[in-house]
């Protein structure tokens, strides 16, 4: 410890749990992994825990760039546009000592494509995985798939032999309540081994001294104790009292306090998630407004006016404590298709907004209900509340219904809301992902999260063509043109890009990952 | 004459209240000699119990001894500190309370309570204490003391409990026992036994007894010396014979005069004039407006025929598994027009249950009750309403029979309103008139019941009962909660009603002297059955049943009193 405050000194003396071990990472965040089975759940905190112990072929670094992990290099087969070739790292061993080879990769892909797998949608374009020797695999897709590597960064590799020996060849039937050996045991290639795990309580991991990257990465943390703490105040208290030394899911209001506390600091980075409002412009009349026979949201001027009423700077400064980046489009900055120009397109001008409202025939305003989650995004409820006030200034009376995410999201997917908040992260780092879910007209397997009622057949065709367009320039041009429509139609009201904050004690060294995925092997411990 | 074991000298007790200093006991002086039973008699609030409490040092705060002295066997005890007073309590002075049902801790066996007290005062071993406890139980005539020793108070009858309480008071052979209304809560037969026991103990153990009571009969039967108290002061003190036969103080005279005589029937009760402002009952005024109804068809206004009432003792879903307790068993009697019919019996004999069935407060489980020839148990609602208009009831407890949250006006007006006997605008005047007739002021209408004394409240009850001009009046122990002087007033009123208005009455009481004064015919009930029914004078002169004879025998008699 560099600076030792009296508080921490007392804490260290008085509290047995607060003994600071220079090499132990006491790590807390809001939620826990749901399972350890590498393919059973596709969910952030679950991946986070797995990433310490399992590895995919490639990962992204904190900037979103690909980093070779179990694959050393990869490229499309020049002869067959439907095939990607991956060369594997040699000399990698699983925790039980078995060698990592191409047959493990084939096994893992096949396992991830099983019906019970939660990862299967990400690789549903793959029709075959072939081992070419021990250290090369070919992935054949059902058509050209230029962005396939983007879908592989959370696809973990398992040992075929171990899985067979422990009867865990099949993915755990999570919903069916199946427990397999892989649910509670880990045999990965990762930098840490599992010591013990109590779901929702504590997971302990130790350094894998045989790790292939032992000399490549700092690997200064010798032990990880991971504890979920749901209540935000308690979570911060644990960091302040020295009981944990690394904290995810920091409440933004406590950043200053943590940062100014002796021995603690906060680091931040833009997150791969954008927050925005959706508006039902497709319906002829709205259920939750006070205008009969008309849908005010169908008028683009109203949508523009609403966007102009939102003071994103004020939200950033007050609600988010500076921990957000006002957004003009609903793509995070890392994403292919994002441009600084479009992201700067939102402006605040209450007078102009009022004028536009009057022009659209709503000079006296109207009233509408805003559906908002209260347990999903950073200060989600407070943002909505702020928006209520801002929209009030252009005459729109907003009734806020802030509810838990479990009730909120079904409203969007079932089309039961006309005005709602949503956040979106883009794991593929490509705009196609956004268009597929948020812009394409709603069908059973596409446009599922598009609650706006927007449905443009020409645009839909263009979106569908992106998947197999191997001409990257042409594809990017298409993406730009689709974005132009989204922007001009004011399909959504972008609010901001979230900023991630990790709190830690001074001796913990790490940069913040845009996908909120700490990888402890990069951590330094002074 | 022996030295007094306890002397009370000029004792004054004070209670500071909102209205100022209140002195419930003023300059009281009396002595108790060993083996002597001194009766302390007086009406409610006379200060008799307060004096007793002062003697054992159990005055409830903020009451305190303001002046005077209490001497116990030559030692002054009123100025002792709390701990010293405690050491005297139970050891030197025993105490017996009125209600044996509540005097014993229900969660401890009587053996535990006895041993605890004995060991506290006598410093003996547990087994010695047990032996002594058993001996005490034997002494107070508890049968099978070894079994009873391990039983809980609820397994004892009221009389037995009072014996246990006496045993507890005797634990350490006290010099004095303060018995505060020890038999008031008991039936007359039990009362006699308990009083006999106290007499025996006094003569055997030479314990001095202060017997606090309101009952002149108890005084006459039990005590040797008597102290008469009125309003906190001793008005007369002396040997019982002398005080009862030749009272000197006006209050004592009036008190004795008011006691109902069992031997002879008087036309009217002597009015107690002392201290009570006599309020007149204006029967003539009342009679003037009374609409006389036609006599009943058969001359028998009420005919009770084989009436039975069962209560479920042990509930069960299957009717065959239920156990019943027969409270009234096949009782039959008639009440003639204008007659006062008495029902007597000990508590639990079923007399009140009969009254409640006649009053339609309880359904019958068999038999018929005919009112002027119509069976009320099978009446249609409309006829029943007409019946209810013609009967009224006066209850025992004047404090619970008037709704404390209703003004007197509303209480008296309720039957008028319910039966729609008067247009709303005349009701108020009628209520005030009724109150005036029963001897209350017209202003009483605006007051609440708690602002009245017991006697006044019973007058309000009477006013309510008379509001509908009933033909039949049920009086369920109407005076047993009242002081003897008030009792006389109320009983006179009831007599007036019967004579001047021709009201027919069912009069229920456990008090035989009262029954003798009030009733034309009397039925005696025992365990739900009507065991004897006779003209009153015949019954008292010549009871046909042994049980009746026993009851008559147990009546406290003021033998010394002239008629």
């Amino acid at each position: 410890m560099k600076k030792t405050s009296t508080i921490l000194a007392i804490a260290a003396l008085m509290s047995s749990t607060a003994v600071v071990n220079a090499e132990t990472l006491r790590w807390a965040r809001a939620g826990d992994a749901l399972t350890l089975d590498p393919h059973a759940q596709n969910e952030g905190p679950t991946h986070t825990v797995r990433h310490q112990m399992y590895e995919p072929l490639i990962i992204r670094d904190v900037t979103g760039a690909f980093v070779p992990t179990l694959a050393t290099d990869w490229a499309p087969d020049p002869e067959n546009p439907n095939v990607w070739v991956f060369n594997l790292r040699e000399g990698v061993k699983f925790h039980d000592g078995a060698d990592f080879t191409a047959e493990d990769v084939v096994f893992s892909f096949e396992r991830a494509k099983q019906p019970n797998s939660d990862m299967k949608e990400l690789i549903n374009s793959i029709v075959e995985v072939r081992a070419v020797g021990d250290y090369q695999v070919e992935l054949e897709t059902n058509g050209p798939n230029p962005i396939l590597p983007s879908n592989l960064t959370n696809l973990f590799m398992m040992d075929k032999g171990w899985s067979e020996a422990n009867d865990t060849v099949n993915v755990q039937d999570f919903e069916g309540g199946e427990i397999t050996y892989a649910t509670t045991n880990v045999n990965g290639t990762g930098a840490y081994r599992l010591v013990s795990r109590e779901p929702d309580v504590k997971t302990v991991m130790v350094r894998n001294e045989e790790y292939w990257g032992r000399d490549e990465f700092p690997l200064e943390v010798s032990e990880i104790i991971y504890t979920p703490i749901q209540n935000a105040a308690t979570r911060v208290a644990a960091l302040l009292s020295g009981e944990v030394n690394f904290l995810q899911d920091m409440p933004v209001q406590d950043l200053a306090r943590v940062d100014s506390a002796d021995g603690l600091m906060v680091k931040q980075a833009p997150q791969n998630r954008v927050i925005f409002f959706g508006m039902n412009q497709g319906a002829d009349d709205l259920e939750a407004d006070n205008v009969d026979g008309k849908n005010p949201l169908a008028d683009v001027r109203v949508r523009k006016a609403m966007s102009m009423a939102i003071n994103r700077d004020a939200i950033r400064q007050v609600v988010m404590r500076g921990q957000s980046q006002p957004a003009g489009m609903i793509a995070p900055p890392f994403v292919n298709g994002w441009t600084a120009d479009m992201d700067g397109e939102s402006s605040t001008d209450v007078e102009a907004a009022k004028a536009m409202m009057a022009e659209a025939g709503y000079g006296d305003g109207f009233s509408i209900r805003l559906d908002c989650p209260n347990d999903r995004y950073i200060n989600d409820e407070a943002i909505c509340q702020a928006a209520v006030g801002m929209l009030g200034q252009i005459g729109i009376t907003v009734n806020l219904d802030a509810i838990p995410k479990a009730q909120h999201f079904p409203k969007i997917t079932e089309g039961k809301t006309d005005f709602y908040m949503l956040g979106w992260g883009v794991p593929t780092y490509d705009s196609e992902y956004i268009f597929n879910f948020l812009v394409h007209g709603r069908e059973s397997d596409i446009g599922t999260w598009n609650g706006t009622g927007f449905d443009n057949d020409d645009l839909d065709a263009k979106i569908e063509s992106l998947a197999s367009n191997t001409d990257l320039d042409a594809r990017n041009a298409d993406i730009a043109s689709i974005w132009r429509v989204v922007q001009d139609e004011q399909l959504y009201i972008p609010i901001h890009h979230q900023v991630l904050n990790w709190g830690m004690s001074d001796n913990v060294g790490t940069e913040v990952d845009a996908e909120d995925q700490p990888r402890v092997k990069y951590f330094t411990m002074k | 004459m022996t030295e007094p074991v306890l002397s009370i000298r000029d004792l004054t007790v004070e209670i500071p209240t909102r209205q100022g200093l209140f002195k419930p006991v003023r300059n009281v002086t009396y002595d108790i000699r060993p083996g002597e039973i001194r009766g302390v008699v007086g009406e409610s609030g006379a200060g008799k119990s307060m004096t007793g409490n002062a003697v054992i040092g159990l005055l409830d705060a903020p009451a305190k001894v303001a002046s005077g002295e209490i001497w116990l066997k030559g030692r002054r005890i009123d100025n002792l500190n709390a701990e010293e007073k405690r050491a005297i309590r139970g050891k030197e002075i025993g105490m017996i309370f009125q209600d044996p049902l509540t005097s014993l801790n229900p969660l401890f066996t009587i053996g535990e309570q006895l041993v605890e007290t004995i060991q506290l005062h006598l410093k003996v071993s547990a087994s010695e204490a047990r032996d002594r406890a058993l001996a005490l139980l034997e002494r107070v005539s508890i049968p099978d003391p070894v079994t009873r020793f391990n039983q809980y108070p609820h397994q004892f009858s009221g009389g037995m409990r009072q014996r246990v309480v006496i045993a507890l008071a005797l634990c350490s052979e006290p010099s004095v026992i303060v018995a505060d209304e020890p038999t008031t809560a008991l039936d007359v037969s039990i009362q006699a036994q308990v009083l006999d026991l106290i007499k025996e103990l006094a003569s055997e153990t030479q314990v001095g007894v202060i017997l606090v009571t309101h009952d002149m009969g108890v005084i006459a039967d039990t005590t040797e010396q008597v102290t008469v108290m009125y309003a906190g002061q001793v008005v007369e003190s002396g040997s019982t014979d002398q005080v009862l036969s030749a009272p000197t103080h006006a209050y004592t005279k009036s008190l004795i005069a008011a006691v109902p005589r069992p031997q002879v029937k008087l036309h009217r009760f002597p009015q107690v004039s002392y201290g009570n402002r006599e309020t007149t009952f204006k029967i003539e005024d009342l009679a003037r407006n009374w609409e006389q109804t036609a006599p009943s068809k058969s001359g028998k206004l009420l005919q009770v025929q084989g009436v039975t009432k069962k209560f479920i003792e042990k509930p069960a879903i299957l009717p065959s598994r239920r156990r019943y307790f027969t409270a009234v068993d096949n009782v039959s009697f008639d009440i003639k027009d204008g007659e006062v019919f008495g029902l007597v019996g000990e508590s639990g004999s079923g007399k009140s249950t009969v009254a409640r069935m006649i009053g339609t407060l309880l359904p019958t489980d068999g038999g018929a009750i005919q009112f002027d020839g119509d069976d009320i148990t099978t009446m249609e609602p409309k006829a029943l309403a007409e019946y209810r208009k013609q009967i009224q009831m006066i209850f025992q407890d004047p404090f619970s029979s008037l709704n404390p949250r209703m003004k007197v006006e509303s209480i008296v007006a309720e039957p008028l309103i319910h039966h729609k006997l008067l247009p709303p605008d005349q009701i108020s005047a009628r209520v005030r008139e009724l109150l005036d007739r029963v001897g209350l002021t017209r202003e009483a209408a605006a007051k609440y019941p708690h602002e009245f004394s017991g006697g006044q409240r019973q007058r309000i009850s009477i006013a309510r009962a008379l509001a509908t001009q009933p033909r039949f009046l049920i009086c369920d122990e109407p005076t047993s909660a009242l002081d003897v002087s008030i009792q006389a007033q109320i009983l006179n009123i009831l007599k007036d009603l019967q004579e001047h208005l021709g009201l027919t009455m069912l009069f229920i009481s456990h008090d035989l002297p009262v029954v003798r004064q009030m009733c034309d015919r009397v039925g005696v009930m025992k365990q739900g059955k009507l065991v004897e029914l006779q003209e009153t004078e015949a019954l008292f002169a010549n009871p046909q049943q042994e049980y009746t004879a026993e009851l008559l025998d147990l009546m406290p008699r003021l033998a010394q009193l002239s008629g």
Partner: protein, 323 residues
């Protein structure tokens, strides 16, 4: 006595059935579990398939009967969130809640009764009145705030006690206990105080008023007249009589402690059943919610039964009539 207990058990079973029915009819309003269970990439087919697989496409009564059938065999289904047997999760979490509840209850009962007796005996004393008034502070602030304030003071500012979790636990068979380690005991202090404070106040006030009621009974007066010392009267005679009505309420309060643990466990990240339940609500984990509510109901029923039996044991009047 046996028939009395049997009767109570039958009544209790009915209560449980009704409780369960109410609980089940409510689940459909908490939210849609499907949404949480599938990632944002899921298709409508996935949703329908899963809904059918979980039986959620069936009417609520059908689901309820199915649940009852399974529950009768000790099978409470599978947690949607953790993908594990609910019975297993509950067994795993129960020790934490029961240990916390036990310590809180002990605190509440011991301090509640002794302070209650004290304030009753010294009814007019300054200290007693001060305790009476001060105790109200405990019920005048919401539990969660008291918990957070305790964390702020003792964990953050003073650093004396841990702010979350159970500390080190020792596994004894199926039971994980925090009593055997120093960190485990330390971790118990703040949550136990937070949880017990409210109940302590209630018990204290109840004991006081019951005791005052008992102290004015005739048999206490008579005990005084027998010369018994205040000590014997207060602690032998009055206390025993006070306990008769108090036991019922204490029994119910113990049940309430387990229910209130929801809040305390959330504040202190105590890995018990309450936290499990809150998580279940957020995630719409119907099997866990159903099992928890059923368990709470069973617990209440058992507590009620025990209280009734205890009642009969302490009060001889009931002992006889119950025969």
């Amino acid at each position: 006595m046996v028939s009395f207990i049997l009767k109570r058990i039958v009544q209790s079973a009915l209560v449980l059935l009704i409780t369960g029915a109410i609980a089940f009819s409510m689940f459909s309003f908490v939210g849609d579990p499907i949404d949480n269970m599938l990632g944002q990439e899921r298709t409508m087919e996935d949703v329908e398939r899963l809904r059918a697989q979980l039986g959620l496409d069936q009417p609520v009564p059908v689901q309820y009967v199915k649940f009852l059938k399974e529950a009768a065999h000790g099978n409470f289904g599978v947690s949607y969130r953790q993908g594990r047997e609910v019975s297993e999760i509950i067994m795993e979490r129960a020790p934490a809640t029961l240990e916390l509840a036990a310590v809180s209850a002990l605190l509440a009962v011991v301090f509640g009764i002794s302070l209650g007796v004290f304030t009753a005996i010294r009814r007019h004393g300054f200290t007693a009145n001060l305790i009476m008034s001060a105790s109200l502070i405990g019920v005048s602030l919401p539990t969660f705030l008291i918990g957070i304030l305790l964390i702020y003071l003792f964990s953050v500012e003073l650093g004396w006690l841990p702010s979350f979790g159970r500390g080190e636990v020792v596994q004894i068979g199926n039971w994980s206990t925090g009593f055997l380690t120093e960190s485990g005991r330390k971790a118990l202090i703040l949550p136990a105080i937070t949880l017990g404070l409210y109940q302590m106040t209630l018990i204290m006030r109840l004991v006081r008023s019951e005791m005052l009621e008992v102290l004015r009974q005739d048999y206490i007066r008579f005990a005084r007249a027998r010369g018994l010392s205040d000590r014997v009267i207060n602690f032998r005679h009055a206390l025993k009589n006070t306990m008769v009505p108090v036991i019922t309420i204490i029994g119910l309060q113990l049940g309430a402690i387990i229910a209130f643990a929801i809040i305390t466990e959330t504040v202190f990240q105590w890995p018990g059943l309450g936290l499990l339940f809150i998580n279940a609500i957020q995630f719409v984990d119907i099997p866990v919610m159903a099992a928890y509510l059923m368990m709470i109901s069973v617990m209440f029923v058992v507590i009620n039964l025990v209280v009734d039996i205890l009642y009969a044991m302490i009060d001889p009047r009931l002992r006889v009539s119950a025969k």
